[in-house]
């Protein structure tokens, strides 16, 4: 059969699968939301995902970011909407979305508070035991960042967690302001009240 004859069918299929991809898999992966080094970000284009997460949870005083991922762990994609900011990491062994990092306004941590806390003002809770995915919670003023590990128990969650970090809302706000020579700010002025 000549390929030309199958063209409409193939086109329809490609269109259909293209749509399902856009609906099911999500958009192409965004750039890595990397943590600042010192007071600044080495790669400016990695800040917008963090700005978006700050907008998703306007009360959060801390935001999640990535410092350096251990070998075998890679960044997947990000999904941010009002009230929720998430990104996923892949594990070479466990596949896509093996680790989820989520920012929410509130959470109900399970497990015991674990020392040391990653930053002053952040309390870490680590869920113990169980055969399913385990979660680490980081509770702070105005928000909560959770790590969900869908990995075998022998995997070093601590090593992965060490590759993840926190950036303060104030630092992100400074970045926005610096980019615009002070003409823009991350958050609305305190007296700007929207109607109920």
């Amino acid at each position: 059969m000549r390929p030309r004859r199958l063209l409409p069918l193939v086109a329809a299929l490609l269109l259909a699968t293209g749509c399902s991809a856009s609906l099911d898999i999500g958009a192409p992966p965004g750039r890595l939301p990397s943590c600042p080094v010192g007071d600044d970000w080495p790669e400016k284009e990695n800040v917008p995902p963090i700005v978006l997460m700050a907008q998703a949870v306007p009360t959060a005083s801390w935001l999640p970011c990535i410092t350096a991922l251990p070998a075998g762990i890679t960044f997947d994609d990000v999904d941010t909407r009002n009230g929720l900011g998430r990104f996923w990491l892949s594990s070479g062994r466990e596949g896509k979305h093996a680790i989820r990092v989520a920012l929410t306004r509130e959470c109900q941590p399970e497990g015991d508070a674990a020392e040391p806390n990653p930053q002053p003002g952040i309390t870490r809770y680590v869920e113990l035991g169980g055969s399913g995915p385990r979660e680490w919670y980081h509770v702070f003023r105005g928000g909560c960042i959770s790590y969900r590990f869908d990995l075998p128990t022998d995997t070093s969650e601590a090593a992965i967690a060490a590759g993840l970090g926190f950036v303060s809302r104030a630092a992100v706000g400074r970045w926005v302001s610096d980019q615009s020579d002070g003409r823009l700010r991350l958050d609305p002025p305190r007296n700007q009240d929207g109607p109920p």
Partner: protein
């Protein structure tokens, strides 16, 4: 009687008084292929938008400058915020929500399926997906945050540039207008409604700070342009009109600019000056748009023209693909590559049959309306002729019909579409028309089928015994028995099948019963590796398409 005797009944063609004119090389064809001025306007806009996106993706300075400009505009809107206005804006923004967009898509899907407007549905789907997937890709590439420094009062998702909800809303509304609303005044009014809806939704989303003004504007431009161009290029209204009348949709609208183009082409290329142009016998034609054309002469006369476009070319392709799937390669199933070749073939077949002294219409040639897209095949018209299915059939007509088959056999030709609509009785002469499927050096099977179909057509208006008795004068019993062994339901044209069924007679059985011997049926299924591969491929593609289509129905487009 000589079968060619009926071929010269039309008045002699009288050339137009105006001499034949050579079309200068720079002159456009009679019916140029256009996407209209507004199409170019939107295309220009979308190119400008693409330029802005590239700048934003590459330049932090451009992003910051746009942020500052948007922020200034947004601050003015924020100053207007009141409780009642916020409630109103949330209502106005409702069309750009996932649930509303999914409902709009599903309503379109159902209506287009009910009206079997597959072409529109495919273009709808493609344009919608292009906007959804393309828009998402752009948002992730540019990574623009939501409006900065203002409180966002409603829900949002993902990066902001372009506004995906507005782009998708614009695309779905434009698709709806082009797929469901008939062209003309009502479509113009629908476009105004769409524009109002988009402006209100954009106002709502910027007021609520879900989008910056530039996100909204660029999203709408993107969402409008893609479906607009898709429909104008892939489902143009003149080829795929939106109508709610029953009947075949393959026929082209021959009013307006096409009417003028046909007149111009006939005069310019064939020296025929049309006085009247009317669709003719549409119900009997699915493969082209047949026309009756009055022509100036001394006296005035009438010609018959068949208008072919890419629609008909695609129909031919699907028809042949379907035959290959159902029966294998019974005979030449190669589709035509271009409309030009399709009409050239029909004109050639007409001339070939005429050279073989068969009673066919006099060919007048081909006229080009749009190069490679639309052509007319023009031939003699037989005023007052009657389809054989309703005409008086006497021994003379029977003999003429059988002589047509005998002559085709002798000349190594087959018509392949012997049915009542293609056999006209005119002044006691039988005329064979529509040789579009004719074949040179056909298989003996196909020639046998032509004979049986001719006998069945003749028997529609008389007794089978009479037709058989006359047939024995030109064919022997073996040939007739073979013809009926080769012919079964599916090898008969659908019109002939329908008419036989309507009479409630088993014409085939009656003929076979009168023959001294009944041959076993000729198997028409042809299996080959090619057919198996093709069938499996089509089934797999179909299943995959169904699987892929489920999320389209279940999931929200946002």
């Amino acid at each position: 009687m000589g079968p060619a005797a009926g071929a010269s009944v039309a008045p002699v063609r009288v050339a137009a008084s105006r001499p034949r004119r050579r079309r200068p090389s720079g002159e456009p064809p009679p019916l140029p292929h256009r996407i209209n001025v507004s199409g170019f306007f939107w295309l220009g806009l979308v190119l400008a938008v693409a330029g802005i996106w590239v700048a934003l993706a590459l330049s932090a300075t451009a992003r910051t400058a746009l942020d500052i400009a948007d922020n200034a505009a947004l601050q003015r809107l924020v100053d207007l915020r009141t409780a009642w206005l916020t409630r109103l804006m949330k209502v106005l923004g409702a069309p750009a929500t996932g649930a509303a967009l999914q409902s709009l898509w599903l309503i379109n899907l159902v209506l287009l399926v009910i009206w079997r407007r597959w072409r529109h549905l495919l273009v709808w789907l493609g344009a919608g997906l292009a906007v959804v997937s393309g828009g998402e890709a752009v948002t992730v590439t540019i990574q623009r945050p939501r409006p900065l420094g203002v409180e966002i009062l409603a829900s949002w998702k993902g990066f902001a540039m372009p506004s995906l909800p507005l782009a998708v809303l614009a695309a779905f509304l434009v698709c709806t207008v082009y797929a469901l609303v008939p062209a003309g005044r009502i479509r113009q009014q629908a476009k105004i409604v769409v524009a109002v809806l988009l402006v209100l939704a954009a106002l709502s989303r910027t007021y609520l700070a879900q989008d910056s003004p530039s996100d909204a504007v660029l999203g709408i431009v993107f969402g409008v342009t893609i479906p607009l161009l898709a429909f104008r290029l892939l489902a143009p209204n003149d080829a795929f009109p939106v109508t709610y009348r029953r009947g075949r949709t393959a026929h082209l609208d021959v009013s307006g600019s096409r009417d003028a183009a046909i007149r111009h082409a006939l005069e310019d290329q064939l020296c025929l000056i049309p006085t009247e142009l009317k669709p003719f016998g549409l119900e009997g034609s699915g493969g082209s748009t047949p026309l009756r054309v009055g022509v100036k002469g001394d006296p005035d006369y009438v010609v018959f023209a068949k208008l072919y476009s890419q629609t008909h070319l695609r129909s031919d392709r699907w028809y042949k693909l379907g035959r290959t799937l159902l029966y294998g390669r019974l005979e030449d199933e190669k589709a035509f590559n271009t409309v030009r070749r399709l009409v050239q073939y029909e004109d050639y077949a007409l001339r070939l049959l005429r050279d073989a002294r068969l009673p066919v219409p006099r060919p007048y040639g081909i006229a080009e309306l749009t190069p490679e897209r639309e052509y007319l095949v023009v031939m003699e018209f037989f005023p007052g002729s009657e389809e054989i299915g309703t005409a008086e059939v006497d021994d003379d007509i029977i003999d003429q019909g059988l002589a047509i088959v005998r002559r085709m056999w002798d000349a190594g030709l087959a018509h392949r579409d012997i049915k009542p609509a293609n056999l006209l009785v005119h002044d006691g002469r039988l005329i064979l028309v529509d040789p579009a499927f004719a074949q040179v050096r056909p298989s003996p099977w196909r020639q046998a089928v032509d004979l049986a179909n001719m006998m069945l057509v003749l028997a529609l208006r008389t007794e089978t015994s009479r037709v058989l008795e006359r047939a024995r004068r030109q064919f022997n019993d073996d040939e007739i028995a073979e013809a009926f062994a080769a012919t079964r339901g599916i090898t008969m044209p659908s019109q002939l099948r329908r008419m036989v069924r309507a009479q409630g007679r088993d014409l085939h059985g009656e003929f076979v019963a009168q023959l001294p011997q009944a041959l076993p049926r000729v198997r028409i299924q042809r299996w080959s590796l090619r057919r198996i591969t093709l069938s499996v491929t089509v089934i797999v593609l179909f299943v995959l398409a169904v699987i892929a289509a489920v999320p389209l129905i279940v999931n929200s487009p946002l």
